[in-house]
């Protein structure tokens, strides 16, 4: 499975440096992809840039980045000039700190990438950094410029490779206090708690990727398949709407839990 690397650069721990590459851990390629069409003609819709003053189409090679200097006043910056921004973090992931794996809360995780050595000569250095983190149960912390922003990143060993997470900025994560402070934190009654724990135990399963299948995508593909057939003999079918199941209005939690457990037993037979 050869995926074009999204980024190439260097991984550095103190005086050890190796060349690495990175691909996003998520991919849109298997998603049902739609194109935008022009309904009257059935042709594809394309987007292009036009000059905001003259209204004339702008060729791709004439597009250039402008850095605002004042109102309607820009400095043009070419891509190779931007490459020279005076930050090592454009090319090098310098792992400057390590921290216990659970000390960075999940809420900070933004986007995952897979990091691996780029050349055979770097494999040993890469493996040294990976295995030492694994042995110490640590994650590495560094910074990296991605999409013209410098991001804090976290490196976590994973199998033979490393997962690199971009971390959210401080002002992007909302303070949980505003949401959780008002929660009435009453300790549940011991018998109720033991019932709910029983229920949880009964419903605990091993993680399975089937838990994240997408029935909607399958349905869309069915619709498309039917329409393909219908292109030959036109007929109209309406998709049926599934019945709505309103949540039960349960007043007594104890009774409900007992009912749940009884139901579990039955379904287990």
């Amino acid at each position: 499975m050869a995926i074009r690397p999204y980024w190439k650069g260097y991984l550095k721990l103190s005086l050890v440096t190796c060349s690495v590459q990175m691909v996003p851990a998520t991919s849109e390629s298997d998603k049902v992809r739609f194109h935008t069409l022009n309904r009257p003609t059935g042709n594809r819709v394309v987007s292009h840039y036009v000059d905001s003053v003259t209204g004339k189409a702008v060729k791709e090679e004439d597009e250039v980045k402008g850095y605002p200097r004042g109102e309607d006043d820009y400095v043009m910056l070419e891509d190779d000039e931007l490459e020279n921004v005076a930050l090592d973090s454009t090319r090098t992931i310098d792992v400057s700190m390590f921290t216990p794996r659970d000390s960075i809360d999940w809420i900070w995780l933004d986007t995952p990438y897979y990091l691996s050595p780029n050349e055979p000569v770097g494999q040993e250095a890469f493996s040294v950094i990976r295995d030492a983190m694994e042995a110490r149960k640590m994650v590495g912390v560094s910074q990296l410029v991605i999409s013209r922003r410098e991001r804090a990143v976290m490196l976590e060993p994973r199998g033979k490779g490393i997962v690199l997470w971009t971390l959210r900025y401080g002002d992007e994560v909302r303070d949980e206090k505003s949401y959780f402070d008002g929660i009435d934190n009453e300790k549940p009654e011991p018998d109720t708690l033991s019932l709910v724990r029983k229920l949880i135990k009964k419903q605990t399963r091993d993680w399975d990727a089937k838990m994240v299948i997408d029935p909607v995508q399958d349905r869309l593909l069915d619709i498309i398949e039917n329409r393909k057939k219908a292109l030959k003999k036109p007929s109209k079918t309406k998709a049926k709407k599934p019945a709505v199941e309103p949540p039960d209005n349960v007043i007594n939690i104890m009774d409900a839990l007992r009912k749940s457990l009884a139901g579990e037993k039955r379904s287990r037979k």
Binding site: R44, D51, V64, A86, P188, V196, Q203, T204, P242
Partner: protein, 301 residues
């Protein structure tokens, strides 16, 4: 206290118990785009236009419709109502389908986090669920229609509340096993591993993510200034990768020990690991003050 606005209100259902809850966006991603696209020839800003690929005529929003390509240039048109009909009606309920041991959570699936808190009359059942999950060390998998999309959500206890993370679908996540498949099975042992572990020990610290600063914009401003003043832009040296034969030497030097005295020094240094940084240069590199001067960052590897 002004209560924040909920992004979604509904129920969470475990077994036969349902509890009124609300979801609140826990993290937003604010894009900081500091560039505009210009027309190089005129220097004017550009704007986007949607046109018919064949005729070149502008296509109004109302005429834009979704098409699925079945073969080259032939499309099945799906009207918005048809797409909407494929999504189940919202029952406004996060129905817990299963609990999974926390150790089995694969964070690579994580999409967006939401704070999940009880609504009026829900506090008792909410506390019960949270407490039960905490005690059993599990997270819950639930599915519901959120913002007009059917989503799988992973719910886990977090202090007094719960955090619900939407999960990416199976086909949206590349398997790490496949991504790393072609890497050799290299297991590092012995002195190399010990040295690297020692280096990690000296660089162990507390990272305050919230204090991290994006230095990119400042660096670009610097670049722009140089350009305006007609100064030449500095060419940056490419980092040099360590040669495999020099790896052990590089590790020894990084660990702050020359050849020969490795064994003695290591144990001594291990005793106060986590306190001292190997060299002064790293000590001030904690996240609390990441804004170093440009000259310092430019040091060659």
């Amino acid at each position: 206290m002004v209560s924040p606005r909920a992004n979604w209100k509904g129920f969470i259902k475990f077994g036969e118990v349902s509890c009124p809850v609300a979801l609140y966006t826990a993290a937003s991603s604010a894009d900081r785009i500091s560039f505009n696209v210009l027309n190089r020839k005129t220097g004017n800003r550009v704007r986007r236009e949607f046109v018919d690929g064949e005729t070149g005529d502008i296509v109004e929003r109302d005429d834009q419709v979704k098409g699925y390509e079945i073969d080259d240039g032939r499309y099945v048109v799906l009207e918005p109502e048809e797409v909407a009909a494929a999504i189940p009606d919202s029952d406004k309920t996060l129905t817990i389908e299963a609990f999974i041991p926390c150790s089995q959570i694969d964070n690579v699936y994580f999409d967006k986090p939401y704070y999940l808190a009880p609504e009026k009359m829900g506090a008792e059942a909410f506390a019960l669920l949270r407490e039960g999950m905490e005690k059993e060390n599990v997270a819950a998998i639930a599915r519901t229609v959120l913002f007009r999309r059917l989503r799988t959500v992973l719910i886990r206890p977090h202090h007094d509340g719960l955090i619900a993370s939407t999960l990416n679908f199976d086909y949206e996540v590349r398997s790490p096993e496949e991504a790393f498949e072609e890497l050799p099975d290299l297991k590092i042992e012995g002195e190399m591993l010990e040295l690297a572990e020692h280096i990690i020990g000296t660089k162990t610290g507390k990272f305050d993510v919230s204090k991290f600063d994006d230095r990119y914009e400042a660096a670009v401003t610097e670049l722009v200034k140089a350009k305006i003043e007609g100064r030449s832009l500095p060419k940056r040296k490419a980092p040099v990768a360590s040669k495999p034969g020099d790896l052990l030497k590089a590790l020894r030097e990084s660990a702050g020990m020359g050849e020969g005295k490795v064994t003695n020094k290591r144990s001594a240094a291990n005793a106060n690991r986590g306190k001292k940084a190997d060299t002064g240069e790293k000590a001030d590199k904690t996240a609390s003050k990441p804004k170093r001067t440009a000259s310092k960052t430019r040091r060659a590897s």
